[in-house]
Symmetry: C2
């Protein structure tokens, strides 16, 4: 389980699931950074959480990938009350555009 900024998550053998969240921010912070940090902290306490990776480039596109044991864990997190308030804030204020994709991991490999 990893929430360390800048770290690549060490995930288990397949199958597991991922939520790919791509977004474009609106201008200004308006509480965004504090909310985002809190959601990483809260998400990491959820049953089935495996890790998270996040990057936002200079062109404004952000990609956050969170890894989960299964679809039930993802659904429970989506319905978490504090997370639901953050999702509502995202729609209302923080994101100009966003897309959520839920995927089942089939295989993985890496190197270092």
């Amino acid at each position: 389980m990893s929430t360390q900024p800048g770290a690549i998550t060490h995930t288990p053998e397949q199958p597991y699931h991922a939520v790919i969240f791509t977004s474009r921010r609106t201008d200004g912070d308006r509480g965004y950074d504090a909310m985002a940090a809190r959601m990483v902290e809260l998400g990491a306490t959820q049953d089935g959480f495996l890790g998270i990776e996040s990057a936002r480039g200079a062109d404004g596109l952000g990609i956050t990938v969170s890894y989960w044991r299964d679809g039930a864990a993802i659904l429970a997190w989506k319905r978490n009350a504090e997370h639901e308030r953050a999702q509502a804030g995202g729609k209302a204020a923080w994101y100009a555009e966003y897309h959520v994709r839920i995927a089942k991991m089939e295989r993985a490999y890496g190197g270092d």
Copy 2:
């Protein structure tokens, strides 16, 4: 099909596949930016390519998600000769660490 920097890909109905590539760069460019731009250009010409999203944050973590029609299209791209040379360069020089995850998209939703 989208390769526009900073744009969110408009993908078709499920199922389709994604390659999640997370990486940490080594120091210095050493031809990296030109290679990366060329791989986006070349990848977009491949059969089954649906789009690509990429971000690298100030902490150095990069996430690139490319979307593909199916696993066969991903395998054909992995075996493309020019892409194979780029992969070898990545292992030898450009990446301190990387991880490749291949996933099947189950559902998606968004807003703007």
